[in-house]
Amino acid sequence: MFLINCPYCGERDQQEFKAGGEAHIERPKQPTELSDDEWAEYLFMRKNIKGVQFERWNHAHGCRKWFNMVRDTSNDEIKAIYKMGEKPPA
C-alpha cells in the first residue's frame, strides 16, 4: 500500500487514489485527420514497462485532482510526483 504525496493535499494512503494509466499521452487535436492506425495508436497502445514509468494518478477520494507520478514498477519506488502541465523530471 503506497504512501502517495498528493501535490495538493500531502501524504495520503493509496486507497484514496485511483491509477489512471500511462502519462503524457496527449489527445490528438485533430482526430479526424488521423488514419485508423494512428488513432488506434492513441486509443489502445500503452506501454507496460518493468522499470521507471510515467503514470497518471487521481486523488479520487480527496481533492479529485489529477497529477503525474514517476514510479519504478520493479520495486514500486515513487521517484517523483508533479502536477499536470508541469514538465516531467529528467
Partner: protein
C-alpha cells in the same frame, strides 16, 4: 495414571491457579500461564495430531508460532470454534476444549494411517499423476480426496465475537520484544520517537528472558535477570506503546504493516462476551525495526517426525519457562552448541539426559566441557539413522558418520529414550523483511539467508539480522540504532557483556542412513508430509526452479508455510543439483506470517455494514408503504409497491397501467446530478456529448449521449441550461461517480484552458417524477400560480417555482413517454414534496411506482438503459440512435472511433425490438437469438436485453441486440430455450405511441 512432568516451579506459571481443560474429550489440568502445548506435555501427552498425507502420528515440535504438527481445533462444535490453531500459541483457560485434526475416528486410532504403509504409492505429484484419467472422473476423485484430507472444520454458525480495525501512525515500529527489540524500542522512545513495540507472545523478553546460562553475563547478571530489569524500566518511558499477543501478519510497501492483536482468546467464555476479540492494526511507520529473532532448524534424518522428537530450544523453553520436562529419558541430536545449553538446562533441573549425538567431530567450548563434567555421554561424529516408536518415540539407532558426511560406517548403537531434542542451527526469521520487498543474500559461512541491506525505512537487528551472540547483538544493535535513528548516545554504550558461546557448526542438510534414501522417511515439511525423497524425485523428473519444486512436492505449502523445513528443502535441492544456495534463491515469503481469522480481516464490516448503501430522502415513505427494494449501485431503490399480497408481476402491471391511464409517481432522487458552471460550459458539453449544445436556450432541456473515446456508449441523461453559464447534468444512477471522474479527467488533463467547474450535487436534491395524463392537474394543485400551458412550459423545458416557501426546479421531461414533470427540491424537503404530490394526486388515483415499472414503461417506448441494453460494445449507430450524433461538430469524445473500420461494420450487433409470435410468452433477458434451428453449431445472432409483458399493449415486448438487426425488420427468428423454441419477429423498438403524441396529452 497420568505422569506429572512438572519440574521445579517457574515464575511464569501460577501454580496456585489450577485450570482444567479438555483435549480430545479427556479432562486434563494445567496452570495459568501454560499454553495448551505445555499443559499437554506436563501431562505426558505428545501425540496430538496426524500428518496430512500419511496420517502419521505427530507430536508437539516447537514452543512457538512456527509449529507444524500440533495444530488443533479449538472449542470444536461451538460457534467460536477455530481450526488450524497452533497448540503452542493457545493460552489455556478454564473450560478450554481442543481436539486433534485430520484423523478419524481418533488420533489414537486413525483409519487414514493405512496411507503410511501405502506410502510407496504416494510419491510427489501423486495426485497429478493418478487422477488425470479419465478426465471426466476428476469430480468423483475430488470428492474422496477432499473428504480424506482437509485440516479442521470451519464453524457452521455465526461468529458471536466482535472484531475491530485500528489505524496507527508511529515514528518507529519495533517488531519482536526479545532482547534486541526491547533495547531498540527503549532507545527509540527515549529519543522522542513515537514508538510501538509488538510481540506475538503474552510476555516480553523472547528467549533471553529464560536464559539462565551462567556462562553469559550482562553487567554481571545472567541475561534473564538483566533483561527483567530492562523490561521493568519500559513502564516509565513515555512515547512507548507496547502490544503483546500481537502478531505482525504482513509487511507491505512504504512501511505499511498489518498486525493482529489478540484480546480475548486467552479468556474464559464468560469473559469474552461483548468484548473485541481481535483487532487488526493497520500500522504506517516512518521506520521499522525488525527484531523477529531466529527459528531453530530441525535436522533431516530417517523417521525424524515421531511424537517425542522436538526442537532442542523448545525442550529448553518448556523446562525453563513452563517448568515442564518433555521426557524422562532425553537425548539431544545436534550440529552446534545449542543442544548443550538445552541439555545443561535439563540437567540443572534434575531431568535425566541420556546422551548427546553430535555430527561434529568435536567442540571445546566451555559449555561442552560442562556437559561432559555432568557425566552426559557425547557421541561425536555420529548421526541418527533411525528412530523407533509409533505413537511415541522409544528409541533411536545411531552410527558413525563418514568424513564427508554422506554415509555411515561401523556398527549400529541403540539408545532408549522418550524425547529427542534436535538442534540444526538457527534460521533468521526474515519473512517480514522479504515481504517488504527487500532482498536476501546467502551467507556461505553461517549457511543462512540474511537481510542484504538496511534501508532508511527499516533495519533488521538481533538474530533476524544474523547476530547470534549477545555481545555481537548489542554491539551491532547500538551502531544500527545510531545510524538509522540518527542519535548520538544510547543506553547500550556502556553495557558489559561476558560470553562463552561458540558458533561452530557442521551443516549437513540431509543426514545419511544405513538404508538407501528410497527406504527411509526423512521429513522436510512435517505438515505436508514432504520428504527429502520427494524433493529428489522432483529434481529427477526435471523440476529445477525452487518455486516449481515447492508446488510439485507441496513443501512449505502448509499452514505453517514451511517455517522449519524450507531451508533444508533448499539445501537438498542445491546439493543435489550441484548449485550454490545463493544462486538458488528462496521461495517467496507471503503474508500472513501466521494465519488470520476472517473476522479480523473484515473487522466491523459485517451484516448491514458489509457494504455501504445509500438511501434517498424519500426512503422512509417507501418503507412505510411496504415497497420492495432493489440495489442499484449503492442505492436502495423502491422496486415495486405490492398491495394486498400482490406478486411482483401483478404490482408492476397495475403500476404501469395507472401511470399511463392517470398518474404515477417515481422517486428519481438517485439519478446522478452534476452542476456545471463556467464561461466555457456550453463548449464543454459540446465536447463531451455526441449532439450539439451551443444553441440550447436558457430554460431548456436536452437529452445527451456520452461516449467513451472508443466510440461506445458510456452514459446518457438530460441536461438543463439553468443560466447562461450554468447547467445541471443528470447521469444514470450507477454511472454518476464515473461520469464525474471522466469529465474531471478531460477538464484537468486535456482541456485545462476551459473555464468550467464541476460539482456533484446528487445528494443535495430529492427528485419526484410525476407522470401520466393527470400529472399536469396534480402539479397545478401543488403550484397554482405556475402557468403549465404548453406555450409557457413546453416539453423539454425548465421552470423555477415555489411550493409554499420551498424553492424547486421543475423539468418537463419524460422517460416514460407520458406527459411528465421532474420536481427537484433541496434533499431535506424531499419527503414533504413527495407527500404533497401523493395528497394532491389522490383524486387522480396517483400510483407510486418503482424501478421495475419505470423499466417497463421506457421499454414500451424503446428507450435504452445504459448498462442493460448496452454493454460497452454498442455505438450510438448500433443503437439506431444516429439522430443524436452530430455530423456538424468537428470533434467530441469518441467521434473519431465511430469511423473506424470495425465500428462501421454493417454486421455489428444492433438494437432492435422483438415480438413473440405468441403474445403471452415473455422472453428471458439474456436469452440467445438464432436464425436457424436445425444447424449445428448454430450461429448466435445476439441476445435479449430487456423483456416485459406490457399491460398497455397487452402483449409481450422485448429489446434485443442482433447481428445486422437493422436490416432484419419483420424477419422471423428463434429464441431456443431449454424446453421449447420461441418464435419471434424483429420489430421497431418503439412499441408504444411512436409519434410521441402522449407527451403533450
Amino acid at each position: 495414571m497420568i505422569k506429572n512432568l512438572r519440574v521445579k516451579s517457574s515464575e511464569y506459571i501460577d501454580e496456585t491457579n489450577r485450570i482444567s481443560f479438555k483435549f480430545n474429550g479427556k479432562t486434563y489440568h494445567g496452570f495459568k500461564g501454560d499454553t495448551l502445548a505445555s499443559a499437554l506435555l506436563a501431562n505426558d501427552v505428545h501425540l496430538v495430531g496426524r500428518s496430512f498425507k500419511y496420517h502419521r502420528p505427530r507430536g508437539i515440535m516447537t514452543s512457538g508460532s512456527e509449529e507444524p504438527n500440533a495444530i488443533v481445533q479449538v472449542n470444536p462444535g461451538t460457534n467460536r470454534t477455530e481450526p488450524n490453531v497452533r497448540a503452542t500459541e493457545v493460552e489455556i483457560y478454564e473450560g478450554l476444549e481442543a481436539s486433534s485434526q485430520n484423523c478419524w475416528p481418533s488420533v489414537e486410532f486413525d483409519i487414514g494411517g493405512i496411507n503410511n504403509f501405502l506410502s510407496p504409492f504416494f510419491p510427489a505429484g501423486f495426485y497429478y499423476k493418478t487422477f488425470m484419467w479419465p478426465a471426466s472422473f476428476w469430480e468423483k476423485y475430488e470428492f474422496f480426496i477432499r473428504h480424506s484430507a482437509g485440516l479442521g472444520k470451519s464453524p457452521t454458525s455465526n461468529d458471536p465475537d466482535i472484531y475491530d480495525h485500528r489505524n496507527i501512525h508511529c515514528d518507529v515500529l519495533v517488531v519482536g520484544a526479545g532482547i534486541s527489540g526491547i533495547l531498540a524500542a527503549k532507545n527509540a522512545a527515549k529519543n522522542n520517537f513515537k514508538t510501538l513495540l509488538v510481540d506475538e507472545k503474552n510476555e516480553l523478553g523472547g528467549s533471553t528472558i529464560f536464559e539462565n546460562n551462567k556462562f553469559n553475563k550482562i553487567d554481571n547478571k545472567t541475561p534473564s535477570e538483566w533483561l527483567k530489569k530492562e523490561i521493568e524500566e519500559l513502564k516509565n518511558i513515555k512515547n512507548l506503546e507496547i502490544k503483546t499477543r500481537t502478531s505482525v501478519a504482513a509487511y507491505h510497501q512504504y512501511n505499511y504493516l498489518l498486525a493482529r492483536e489478540n484480546l480475548t482468546d486467552h479468556l474464559e467464555a464468560k469473559d469474552k462476551t461483548n468484548k473485541i476479540r481481535q483487532r487488526l492494526l493497520k500500522i504506517r511507520a516512518k521506520k521499522v525495526i525488525l527484531a523477529t529473532g531466529a527459528l531453530e532448524r530441525p535436522l533431516i534424518f530417517n523417521n525424524n517426525d515421531r511424537p517425542g522428537i522436538m526442537l532442542s530450544s523448545a525442550i529448553k523453553k518448556y523446562s525453563e519457562f513452563y517448568g515442564v520436562a518433555c521426557g524422562s529419558k532425553n537425548v539431544f541430536f545436534t550440529n552446534n552448541d545449542s543442544a548443550y545449553e538445552s541439555a545443561l538446562s535439563l540437567y540443572n533441573k534434575g531431568i535425566n539426559v541420556e546422551a548427546i549425538i553430535d555430527i561434529r567431530e568435536q567442540s571445546e567450548s566451555k559449555i561442552v566441557k560442562k556437559v561432559k563434567e555432568a557425566g552426559i555421554k557425547v557421541y561425536w561424529s555420529h548421526t541418527i539413522v533411525d528412530t523407533a516408536g509409533y505413537k511415541r518415540l522409544n528409541g533411536i539407532s545411531i552410527m558413525k558418520l563418514s568424513n564427508d558426511g554422506t554415509s555411515v560406517t561401523g556398527s549400529k548403537i541403540s539408545i532408549s529414550c522418550d524425547c529427542l531434542g534436535v538442534a540444526g542451527g538457527w534460521t533468521p526469521a526474515v519473512h517480514l523483511y522479504t515481504q517488504s520487498g527487500s532482498k536476501l543474500k546467502f551467507d556461505e559461512e553461517k549457511q543462512i539467508f540474511l537481510p542484504n541491506q538496511n534501508t532508511s525505512q527499516q533495519i533488521s537487528v538481533g538474530s533476524c539480522g544474523g547476530d547470534f551472540k549477545i555481545d555481537e547483538i548489542i554491539k551491532n544493535l547500538n551502531q544500527k540504532l545510531k545510524d538509522n535513528l540518527n542519535i548520538k548516545e544510547t543506553d547500550l554504550d556502556n553495557i558489559k557483556v561476558e560470553i562463552d558461546q561458540e558458533n561452530s557448526k557442521r551443516n549437513i542438510w540431509l543426514l545419511p542412513s544405513d538404508k538407501p534414501l528410497g527406504k527411509t522417511k526423512p521429513f522436510v515439511d512435517y505438515q505436508n508430509d514432504a520428504t527429502a525423497k520427494d524433493i529428489k524425485l522432483a529434481l529427477r523428473e526435471g523440476f529445477r526452479s525452487i518455486e516449481h519444486v515447492k508446488r510439485y512436492t507441496t513443501t512449505g505449502m502448509g499452514t505453517d508455510q514451511g517455517k522449519l523445513g524450507n531451508m533444508h528443502a533448499l539445501g537438498i535441492i542445491a546439493d543435489t543439483a550441484g548449485v550454490k544456495m545463493g544462486e538458488l534463491g528462496t521461495t517467496t515469503f507471503r503474508p500472513p506470517y501466521t494465519p488470520l481469522t476472517f473476522g479480523t480481516i473484515v473487522g466491523r464490516n459485517v451484516g448491514k455494514f458489509f457494504d455501504i448503501f445509500r438511501r434517498t430522502p424519500i426512503n422512509d415513505w417507501h418503507v412505510e408503504n411496504k415497497a420492495e427494494f432493489e440495489n442499484v449501485g449503492q442505492w436502495k431503490r423502491a422496486w415495486y409497491y405490492p398491495i394486498n399480497g400482490e406478486t411482483m408481476h401483478q404490482a408492476v402491471q397495475r403500476e404501469s397501467k395507472a401511470a399511463r391511464e392517470s398518474a404515477g409517481i417515481l422517486d428519481a432522487s438517485t439519478l446522478g446530478k452534476i452542476d456545471i458552471q463556467g464561461s466555457d460550459a456550453s463548449e464543454f458539453l459540446n465536447r463531451v456529448y455526441t449532439n450539439a449544445w451551443s444553441k440550447l436556450a436558457v430554460g431548456k432541456c436536452r437529452y445527451g449521449l456520452m461516449l467513451n473515446e472508443d466510440g461506445m456508449v458510456y452514459d446518457d441523461g438530460v441536461t438543463t441550461r439553468l443560466g447562461e453559464n450554468h447547467y445541471i447534468m443528470t447521469t444514470t444512477t450507477g454511472g454518476a461517480a464515473n461520469v464525474l471522474g471522466k469529465l474531471e479527467d478531460y477538464l484537468q488533463t486535456e482541456w485545462p484552458e476551459l473555464d468550467v467547474y464541476l460539482t456533484s450535487v446528487t445528494d443535495h436534491y430529492a427528485t419526484a417524477s410525476l407522470c401520466g395524463p393527470n400529472s399536469k392537474n396534480i402539479l397545478k394543485k401543488i403550484i397554482p400560480d405556475l402557468d403549465l400551458s404548453d406555450e409557457n412550459f413546453p416539453h423539454m423545458s425548465f421552470k423555477e417555482a415555489h411550493i409554499g416557501n420551498i424553492q424547486c426546479r421543475i423539468m418537463r421531461i419524460s422517460f416514460t413517454g407520458e406527459h411528465s414533470y421532474e420536481i427537484n427540491v433541496q434533499a431535506s424537503y424531499g419527503k414533504d414534496l413527495w407527500e404533497k404530490c401523493i395528497e394532491a394526486g389522490k383524486e387522480f388515483n396517483i400510483t407510486p411506482y418503482g424501478t421495475e415499472t419505470m423499466h417497463l414503461l421506457r421499454a414500451e417506448k424503446g428507450f435504452i438503459i445504459v448498462g442493460q441494453d448496452t454493454d460497452g460494445t454498442m455505438t450510438p449507430i448500433d443503437l439506431q440512435m444516429d439522430w443524436i450524433v452530430s455530423k456538424k461538430k468537428y470533434d467530441f469524445i469518441g467521434k473519431r472511433s465511430l469511423y473506424r473500420s470495425d465500428t462501421m461494420r454493417e454486421d455489428r450487433k444492433q438494437l432492435v425490438g422483438l415480438l413473440t409470435d405468441d403474445p403471452n410468452i415473455v422472453l428471458e433477458e439474456g436469452a440467445q437469438i438464432v436464425s436457424e434451428l436445425n444447424q449445428s453449431p448454430v450461429e448466435m445472432l445476439g441476445h435479449v436485453t430487456s423483456s416485459y409483458f406490457s399491460p398497455n399493449l397487452k402483449k409481450s415486448i422485448a429489446l434485443a441486440v442482433v447481428r445486422g438487426g437493422k436490416d432484419m425488420m419483420g424477419k422471423k427468428l428463434f429464441v431456443p430455450m431449454e424446453n421449447k423454441n420461441i418464435n419471434v419477429t424483429v420489430a421497431n423498438p418503439v412499441f408504444y405511441d411512436e409519434k410521441n403524441e402522449r407527451l403533450n396529452a
